[in-house]
Symmetry: C2
Amino acid sequence: MKSDLRQILSLIPSETFCLAAKTTLLSAGETATKVYFIKEGCVRLWYNNDGKDITCQFFMPGSMVASFESFSKENPSEFTIETILPTTVEVYDKKDIEEYRLSHPEQLDIALNFALDRANNYIHLFLSRIKDTPQQRYKDLLEQAPEIVASIPQHYIASYLGITPVSLSRIRKRISQK
Amino acid sequence: MKSDLRQILSLIPSETFCLAAKTTLLSAGETATKVYFIKEGCVRLWYNNDGKDITCQFFMPGSMVASFESFSKENPSEFTIETILPTTVEVYDKKDIEEYRLSHPEQLDIALNFALDRANNYIHLFLSRIKDTPQQRYKDLLEQAPEIVASIPQHYIASYLGITPVSLSRIRKRISQK
DNA sequence: CTGAAACGATAACATTTGTTAAGAAATCAC
DNA sequence: GTGATTTCTTAACAAATGTTATCGTTTCAG
C-alpha cells in the first residue's frame, strides 16, 4: 500500500529541494498544505511540551512525512517537522493532491487506507511506550533502525525514547558492558 | 461527527444485550466483525504484553468500541475487548454496516473521517504518555473521567496509567495528603 | 451464610530515572 | 584556523517506581 501511494504520487506534480540540517518543513500552529517524500537524509516530527522538545518519530529515505492530521482536517498542526541531516525531499502540494483525488474519486479508499495506516502507526508508537522499558526500546531501535542510532545526535533519540540524554548514556554503557 | 455516526447507526439493524462484568466481546487473535455501542456500564480495551494485561482505553456509555483496525483491515485483533462492569450494548454486524455503506457510497468519507479521528485519538493517547508523569495523568483522569476512577478497580487504572497498582496507591496517598 | 478470591494500603529494599554539574571531544561558524 | 557551540560521558544525590510480601477489607460464588 505504501507503494500504491508512491505510484499515485508519481502522477502528481512535485518539486525537489535539497535542504540543510535543522530546516523546518512545518511549524506547530501552521496548517499543513504539503506532503514530503524523503529521498535522502533524515527528518523528525516533534512536539513542543512546555519548551521541552519531544521527538515523536524519525523519517528515513523512502518514507513520506506530513502532519497528516493537520493536512486532512485543516487544523493547526500540533507538531513541528524538521530535518536533522541535510535532506532531499519531493514536495507535493495539497491542491495538486486534491485535484488528483477529485479526478480519481474511485481512489478515496486509498485515503481511507492511508488514514487507517496512520492510526495503526500511532497505536504501535503508543504500545511501544507502554510495553517496554527505555532500555528495551533502545535495543529495538538499534535492531530495527541502526542507521538512525548511528547518524543522529543522541538527545533526539533520548527524547524519542522518553528519557533524558543522561539516562540514554547510562543505558548505552550498561549494554556495552555485556 | 460522533453524532453523525450515531445517526447512521440508527439506520442499521442492531441487537441489544445485557452483559455481566468481565464478559469478553472480542479476544485478541480474532478478527473483529462487530461494533458495539455502549448504553450502560463500562468496557475496556486491553493488550496482552507477555501475560501482563495492559488497559489501553476505557469506554463509557455513549461511545462506540471495536477493534477498528482489525475490523477495517480484517486482521487478527491485537487487543481484547471486555466489560468491566455489567454493561448494556447495541451490537452492529459488519455485514449490515457494509450493506449500508454500499447503498450509500457518498458516505465513504464518513469512514475516512472516522479513521482520522481514530488516528487522532491514538496520537493523544501517545502524547499523554510522553508529556505527563503518572501522577499528572492520574490527576487528569480524575478531572476528565471521575466516574471511571470511582467505579473501576484500581489495577485497571494503574495499567492504563502505565504503573503498578502499588505505585498508584502511593500516588493516591500523596495527592490526598495535600 | 461462608470460604475463597479479589482488592487496596503499606512497608522495605533494589533499581531506574531525573537533575545538576563538570569536563573532554567533536563539530560548526566565521 | 580558531573560538564558540554542541555533543557525549560521568559523577553525586534526590525522587519515583518496581518488586515482593503482609494484612485487613470487600466482593463473589456456591
